[in-house]
């Protein structure tokens, strides 16, 4: 199947998401809450694009009424590219007048709710965002846009230590009862996927502090790079029976190559 994105023809499979197709073709679409490993968030809406379907070249044999397709007007609609599966051949505009206007408003509103985020400020500069009283930047040091990617990452990769708490304007991401979560292993997945840098992780010597919890770091015995936290390895050993890693991925690869070289006498 072929979709045309900004005049460029790109081949894809039926059901693939538009954002993934565009990314593969090297076409940049702004996005915040999208992460390739955690699909289906679709809440920041920044990847808004215009899709034109029903141009008549996807006929499904209404042969008797010839010309019925040309009578049908093509449909143009605004969709979120990250959760729009391509079902039929279509033409996509990522920078039409309508897209620019919608995306600008979204950016301005996100900037107002998370004024301290440099990532959002950068996107505003890159894609353009309107100014004005309606979008007046609220005071405060908010960075979180409540996309929920961190909670999803924690449930998928970690231990489900964080979730959204409360609702409406009081909604936030936190641990149960706002206390240091007993189950948090300090893997830092939440901070790594956060698109706006809202989750604070502090590393000081052999300690990592995250969600008000301080954990001991483990290091590679060869190069000293951080390999995780002691609690993380402990839990992995209890639940999956894995041994705590002695080497970091780089050193492990190097050790493997050395062994191979020695074996084959290179």
């Amino acid at each position: 199947m072929i979709v045309t994105i900004d005049g460029k023809e790109v081949s894809c499979e039926r059901g693939e998401y538009l954002l993934d197709i565009a990314t593969r073709a090297g076409i940049r679409i702004a996005s915040l809450c999208h992460h390739e490993g955690l699909q289906g968030q679709g809440c920041c809406r920044l990847c808004t694009v215009e899709v034109e379907t029903g141009r008549g070249d996807t006929g499904r044999g209404e042969g008797a009424q010839s010309g019925s397709f040309s009578d049908k007007k093509p449909r143009r609609e605004i969709v979120a590219a990250c959760i729009y599966p391509v079902e039929a051949e279509c033409v996509v505009y990522t920078d039409s007048e309508r897209v620019r206007r919608n995306r600008g408003i979204l950016l301005a509103l996100l900037r107002a709710s998370a004024p301290a985020s440099e990532e959002i400020a950068e996107l505003c500069r890159e894609f353009g965002a309107p100014d004005g009283a309606r979008y007046e930047v609220q005071s405060g040091d908010g960075k979180c846009i409540l996309c929920g990617l961190c909670a999803k990452a924690c449930q998928t990769l970690g231990t489900g230590a964080i979730s959204s708490v409360g609702r409406g304007t009081a909604k936030k991401i936190s641990t149960p009862y706002d206390e240091p979560a007993t189950v948090c292993v300090g893997c830092g997945s939440c901070a790594a996927v956060c698109p706006t840098g809202a989750i604070e992780v502090a590393e000081d010597g052999d300690e990592r502090t995250i969600w008000n919890k301080t954990l001991t770091l483990t290091r590679c015995s060869r190069c000293g790079a951080v390999t995780g936290t002691a609690f993380e390895h402990y839990r992995a050993s209890v639940h999956a029976g894995t041994e705590p890693p002695d080497l970091c991925p780089d050193c492990r690869r190097k050790a493997m190559t050395d062994t191979m070289a020695k074996t084959f006498g290179v």
Partner: protein, 159 residues
């Protein structure tokens, strides 16, 4: 405040299969039985369903029908909808504060009354209106509140 025994919670949990679809039903039962969703209850439910505590906490904080802090025997709901607001619903709040010494979201020390501020009770003709344990009290004169609460106290729980 009543201390909730682990057996009570376990007995409640065991009436439900270990399936995530019963999460909300269990929480509603806790709310009914204990007057709130206790922390011990959420911990036990987390173990029962093998779901993270954070997920249950998210649900418990989302629904207004669930409370994480103890609520009194009698729930007073004071309307702060448009009409009640204009008809001086805030005077009712002041009256309740004088009568019981509690504000919205608080409970009296004896555990008898809890006060909630709600948006619209759908009885605008009776404004300003309050509901105690499902009984509507319309066109409230703040000075009469003392008598209303004394009567409710004397009657006990209306279920």
């Amino acid at each position: 405040m009543r201390i909730i025994a682990g057996e009570e919670i376990n007995a409640l949990l065991n009436t439900y299969p270990r399936n995530a679809m019963y999460t909300l039903a269990v929480m509603q039962d806790m709310q009914r039985q204990f007057g709130y969703v206790p922390r011990e209850g959420l911990d036990a439910l987390s173990g029962h369903l093998e779901r993270p505590l954070s997920e249950l906490y998210a649900i418990a904080t989302f629904y207004k029908a669930l409370s994480l802090t103890p609520r009194g025997k009698h729930i007073i709901k004071v309307c702060d909808g448009t009409v009640c607001h204009i008809r001086a619903g805030t005077n009712v709040l002041d009256g309740i504060y004088r009568a019981l010494g509690i504000g919205p979201g608080e409970m009296t020390d004896d555990g008898e009354f809890s006060l909630e501020l709600v948006n619209c009770l759908g009885a605008c003709a009776l404004a300003p209106v309050m509901v105690v344990d499902g009984t509507y009290y319309g066109k409230i004169a703040p000075e009469s509140l003392h008598e209303v609460f004394d009567a409710i106290r004397a009657e006990g729980v209306i279920d």
